[in-house]
């Protein structure tokens, strides 16, 4: 049943350029996939590690800037070199971010990532000889990997889709792997994990690299999609948006960040088409979700559906523990586990 649904979803997604009319919507679909990759990366930390980062736009932007910089030097490097270089720079930056930010957990981690993100922003905005300041870096043309030109919206969508699939598969493997389990262990019971002989710091460090890798890949796609990168891409708002995608969809779920990215990109485009107040909407969604639906949309809707189903079947209305509720009851009020992960992170 699940497999059929999955296959159907894949076919529908792969066929988007055919059943969606107009390049505008194909481009929006590409954006959704691109940001979904980013959100999946952020989710590794925010969801599975319980470490909320507000500096990930820095990693995303570093990859974009690095690629833009290599391309704009005009030394004729192939796109493979550019991609490898950009991802390598993003990984290096992730390692530096991780070493510094992992000095703290909970709030300390948030504050350090804010500071690191602001440094990246400051460099992007002020170090004009390197980053061209507010004017940003413009590249000409998208690459043609293996002779397959990405210039048209359709072909770019498919390329993004392939990368997106790779990201989802890597996430699925990661979640199911012993490493994923140990990461969740460090989120929920860091002291017990230490007592069991796990190297908590190293597990978090590797998770940070994994998260930074996909953020960098998303940043690279972002550069190719827009053929432009400016300090806006690394601003605090961008980090907040990525976090909103994860939290609105539901942290520590595979589907959540994808749903969240869809939601944010669609609202952003709709909001900018009909009202100018995108930032207001963004802020309002933040407030409403955190206050009223702290576990995120996907688990929230799942909870409501379970209730509705239970209400429709009078016999089953007597508490039947649904899967997932067994561990500590339904989170009706109060933040979801990752949100107050700081309590246990100390």
């Amino acid at each position: 049943m699940n497999r059929i649904a999955l296959a159907a979803a894949l076919v529908i997604l792969a066929a988007v350029p055919w059943w969606v009319s107009g390049t505008y919507y194909v481009n929006i679909a590409s954006q959704i996939l691109l940001y979904a990759i980013f959100a999946l990366g952020v989710n590794v930390l925010a969801g599975y590690a319980g470490l909320v980062s507000l500096g990930h736009a820095g990693l995303f932007g570093i990859a974009a800037y690095a690629a833009g910089k290599i391309l704009s030097t005009g030394s004729g490097h192939g796109h493979v070199v550019v991609a490898i270089g950009a991802i390598a720079v993003a990984l290096l930056a992730s390692a530096v971010f991780a070493v510094l930010a992992l000095r703290g957990t909970g709030l300390g981690f948030v504050m350090i990532t804010v500071a690191l993100g602001q440094i990246v922003w400051g460099v992007a905005y002020r170090w004009i000889s390197l980053t061209n300041g507010d004017n940003g870096i413009t590249i000409t043309g998208r690459p043609s990997p293996f002779g397959f030109s990405l210039a048209s919206p359709r072909s770019f969508y498919w390329a993004t889709f392939v990368v997106f699939l790779a990201a989802v598969v890597s996430m699925a493997v990661f979640v199911g792997s012993p490493f994923g389990a140990s990461l969740r262990g460090t989120r929920d019971q860091p002291r017990r994990m230490t007592a069991l002989g796990y190297h908590v710091w190293m597990i978090r460090f590797l998770a940070f690299l994994f998260s930074g890798f996909w953020s960098g890949v998303a940043g690279l796609l972002y550069l190719y999609y827009n053929q432009f990168v400016s300090p806006q891409a690394v601003a605090l708002t961008a980090s907040a948006e990525a976090l909103l995608m994860v939290i609105s969809g539901g942290t520590a779920t595979l589907l959540g960040p994808i749903v969240g990215a869809t939601l944010v990109v669609v609202i952003k485009n709709v909001a900018s088409a009909y009202i100018e107040r995108w930032n207001f909407v963004l802020g309002a969604i933040f407030v409403v979700i955190v206050v009223f639906m702290p576990e995120g949309l996907v688990p929230g809707v799942a909870r409501l559906t379970r209730r509705a189903v239970a209400a429709l079947r009078p016999h089953a209305a007597v508490p039947v523990p649904a899967p997932g509720v067994a561990a500590g009851g339904e989170p009706v009020r109060g933040p979801s586990p990752p949100l107050n992960g700081s309590e246990r992170g100390r």
């Binding site: 909320v52 507000l54 510094l100 000095r103 703290g104 909970g106 709030l107 300390g108 948030v110 504050m111 350090i112 804010v114 500071a115 690191l116 602001q118 440094i119 922003w121 400051g122 460099v123 905005y125 002020r126 170090w127 004009i128 000889s129 390197l130 601003a235 605090l236 708002t237 907040a240 976090l243 939290i247 107040r277 995108w278 930032n279 207001f280 963004l282 802020g283 309002a284 969604i285 933040f286 407030v287 955190v290 206050v291 702290p294 109060g334 933040p335 990752p338 949100l339 107050n340 992960g341 700081s342 309590e343």
Partner: protein, 286 residues
């Protein structure tokens, strides 16, 4: 006047402003453990309110105090209606206050448009005063004096009054303070309003030097963050010293390494975080 002296005066002025901004942030963070990311918005809101009040014929100082009160009222509403629902959930508070700051920024953009608004220097403080043969801009001196007065008043409040003793008890050990009969939730509202008032007031008196423009909130908030992380949360002395460190780093950094001003600003903070995570003047947690 030599460049270095100008920079030093500007640094002290900025330090004074930052103290007003970060003292509130630090108190809120120290007492309530709330990382209030709307604090930059309070600063900007105060300045915007004042421009409207001044345009309606109020004089500068009345406008400064009144806008502070308006911001304090707004802060009180935020604390009562939203933050109270999320006790102890620090990361939820980070997200909510961040969301609120986006909303406030957008409303300000809607109401006061995107153009920078100049706030006129109050008439008595225009021009410069000669001190020891050097001309100092009078208004900048005034800001430093106001900051010192506020610091003294805050210190008196915290160290010499019953309310201050209750606040200190709350900062040190909230559950214990509750046990001995201090109404901590009420204190929270008072402290939050006081912090908001200070931020709003700072926004107004900073108006004549910074002017008011969209994005001012996102510019001031990281500075306040750096101050509190440098100085340690809940410590008035820490805020004071941190503010002047940041004031000097920011101005001298911009003059000497204009391209790396932000790096110069944030590096000391990273070093403090790595070496002494609780800040320079706070006692270690526990």
């Amino acid at each position: 006047m030599s460049l270095w002296l100008v920079l030093a005066v500007n640094s002290i002025t900025l330090g004074g402003l930052l103290f007003l901004l970060s003292a509130g942030f630090s108190l809120i963070f120290g007492l309530m453990k709330i990382p209030n990311l709307t604090h930059g918005s309070f600063f900007m809101l105060g300045a915007y309110f004042a421009t409207s009040l001044i345009a309606r014929g109020f004089d500068f100082w009345t406008a400064a105090v009144l806008s502070g009160l308006l911001v304090a009222a707004f802060g009180g509403i935020v604390e009562r209606l939203i933050l109270r629902r999320l006790p102890g959930a620090e990361l939820a508070q980070v997200l909510v206050t961040l969301g609120l700051s986006f909303m406030v920024a957008d409303v300000c953009l809607m109401v006061w448009t995107g153009d920078p608004i100049r706030v006129d220097t109050p008439s008595g403080l225009r021009g410069a005063t000669a001190l020891a043969g050097v001309a100092f801009p009078r208004y900048r001196l005034a800001i430093s004096v106001i900051a010192v007065i506020c610091a003294a008043a805050l210190w008196t409040l915290l160290d010499r009054t019953r309310l201050g003793a209750m606040i200190r008890a709350g900062v040190d050990d909230a559950p214990m303070a509750r046990v001995v009969g201090i109404r901590v939730p009420q204190l929270f509202t008072i402290v939050f309003c006081l912090g908001a008032w200070l931020a709003g007031f700072a926004g107004v008196i900073g108006g004549p030097i910074l002017s008011v423009y969209p994005g001012l909130d996102q510019e001031m908030l990281p500075l306040a963050l750096v101050v509190v992380i440098l100085g340690g949360s809940g410590s008035l002395l820490g805020s004071l010293v941190g503010s002047f460190i940041v004031g000097f780093l920011y101005n001298f950094g911009q003059a000497m390494f204009p391209e790396l001003a932000y790096v110069v600003l944030f590096l000391p903070m990273l070093i403090v975080l790595v070496v002494r995570p609780q800040g320079l003047f706070a006692r270690p947690a526990g």
